[in-house]
Structures are given as structure tokens and as C-alpha cells.
């Protein structure tokens, strides 16, 4: 069971990574948010945000606020996800 969980998570991560190159960005972002609720401590959401910024920000070289938009959104979602999970009725509290 545990191995399946880890394996599915790794496959999901790889799919998200390649999805950035082959799919519209918003589809990948939505999938990332879905994974955030499916998996515990889905820290990959921050890395996904950072990748979106590095790949697509027009000024990725600079440290401007706009070039960190999706990194910070990912971090914020990750941090508030436990609060959200506790308040969602459909979410399984035991996981």
C-alpha cells in the first residue's frame, strides 16, 4: 500500500514536470492543486511554482516580485493546505 502511494506520487510528479512542456500551464497548475489535496505534505507544489516562474517569467534572471509570483503562490497554498483540508467536508480527515 505504502509503495503504491509513493509510486503514484512519483509518477504524478513526473507527469506534472513533463506536462509543463506539453500542456497548457493552467492544466498543470490545476493538477498540482488536486495533488495537494490528494497527498500529504505535497511540497512539490512549491517546486512546481518555482519551475513555472523560471520557465515562463519574462525576467527570470531578476529577483523581481513578478518573477516569483507562482513560487510564492505555491508556498502559500502549501502552508494553508492543512487549514483548508480541515475545513473541507469532502476531505478525508483520517489521511
Amino acid at each position: 500500500m505504502f509503495t503504491h502511494y509513493i509510486l503514484a506520487r512519483i509518477i504524478g510528479d513526473i507527469a506534472l514536470f513533463f506536462g509543463l512542456f506539453f500542456l497548457p500551464w493552467w492544466l498543470v497548475a490545476v493538477a498540482g492543486v488536486v495533488f495537494l489535496f490528494i497527498y500529504n505534505d505535497y511540497i512539490e507544489i512549491i517546486i512546481l511554482g518555482a519551475l513555472i516562474d523560471v520557465l515562463f517569467s519574462p525576467y527570470a534572471y531578476t529577483m523581481s516580485v513578478s518573477s516569483l509570483l507562482y513560487t510564492s503562490t505555491g508556498a502559500l497554498l502549501y502552508i494553508i493546505s492543512p487549514f483548508l483540508k480541515r475545513r473541507l467536508r469532502f476531505y478525508n480527515q483520517s489521511s
Partner: protein, 271 residues
Amino acid sequence: MIYLQRSNNRQKSKLKKTIIWGVITLVLILIVRFAFPGALSNSVDSAAVPLWNADNKLGGLIHKSIMFFRSRNAIIEENRTLKETLHKQEADITYLDTLKKEYDSLMAMYGRSELQKRIIASVLVTPPETPYDILILDAGSRNEVAPGNVVMAEGNVALGKMSEVHEASGKAILFSSPGEKTKVFIERSTTSLSLIGRGGGSFEADVPQDTDIVVGDTLILSGLSFPMIGKVVEIDADVQSSFKKVLVRSAVNFSNIRFVEILGDTKLEGI
């Protein structure tokens, strides 16, 4: 009661752990991006370009397969329409060629030359595939592309400027990118105005009520070849305000662009 307290404590420690890990990851990403800005961007770029190229080729293959199964009548009809358009455009091109020769000879008479180094680049990624209003191109510093170079399409339509240049690829920020300011002129009256990008090929500008501007006016960038930016599609004139809002649409549909030209000798700064 004791059980509830334990459960609460467990949840609190889990929340604390999540926050700590979130902050640590964010700080680590910031450190890496701050310490190695070019290296990170370049390495991601060198991995991404082959994948985007593969995506473009795959897209072309799928398109060809779909075309194969289209009905014969639809293809005949499309062929007829295309032929008509081609005849019309050939006549336009002949006329434009004459004007271009006339223009070049006039420029030569005044000792000015419009000859610019144009670098052709294939478009790897366009909006809405990107969250930011940018184009990712397969031309970079090895093709002598530099940040600030103007990006053109369909002959004389200015799309944006190069914002980031890597060895084999580059990013061009579109003039219509949200918040991007561009100084333009109305072709008919040479009045200048400042366009603000609104995303998706749209712009807007606030101009005084008495400005001579009408729907259909062409807006151009300054420069010898006067590249076109877009056309005025709507004017929202509120009688109580001293300004009117001008809505402009780019002359090019970004999602259909496959190739662009980069003007190697230009360097456009923000205004």
C-alpha cells in the same frame, strides 16, 4: 477528553511542521535563484528547448493526421478560397513593392538607410500555454540576439521585445503583457500616446477628450520603418471625464504565430 487534547496537539504539531517545511523550501528556492540566477535559468532552458521542439513537431504531426481525414469537399472549398486570397495578395504585394522601392530611394537620397539585421526565429511557446504574456523563441545569443531587440511578425507588426536571452533560446515579452507600457504614435495624425498592455493581445490608453483618434486608427512604434502595434477597436468616451479610454487590439493572433523576426540592431527600453 484526553483523546481530544492529544488529537489537537497532534494537529498543531502537524501544522507547525508544514509551515516550517514550506518556509524552508521557499527560502532554499530563493537562495538558489538569487545565488545562481543565470545558471539555473540556462540549465532549465537547455533542458526545455528540446522538449518544446518535440512538442511542436508532435503538434504538426497530429495536425497533418487530422488533415488526412478531412472531407474532400471541404479541402476543395478551402483551396478555392485560398487561391482567391492569394490572387488578391499578389496584387497588393506588387503595389507594396513599388512603394518600398520608392521609399528606399527616398531614404537613400537623404542619406538614411532602413536596412536592419533581421534574425528569423521559430516560436516554441505562445500564450495561452504560458502564464505570462511571452513568446519563447529558438534564437539566442549564438544568433546575436540581445535583450531589448524588437520582435516582429507578418512583415511589419511589432509584437514585443526580447526580455531574456540564453545561448539557444530567448523570451520575448509582448507589448500587450499586463502592465507593460509602450510609447506609440497614431499613424494618421502622429499624436503620441502611452499604451498599457492588458494581456491576450489587448491594450488600453487614456487620452484627453480632444485627441483626434477614431476606431480603426493604426498605432505605430517610432522608428524608420514605423512598425505597427495594433488597431483601435473601441473608444469609451465618458462626457463627464476629461479623458477617454482607447482600446487597442494587436494586428496578430499570437496563438497562430510560428515564426517571428528579431530586429538585431534595435534596443527598446521601457518607458
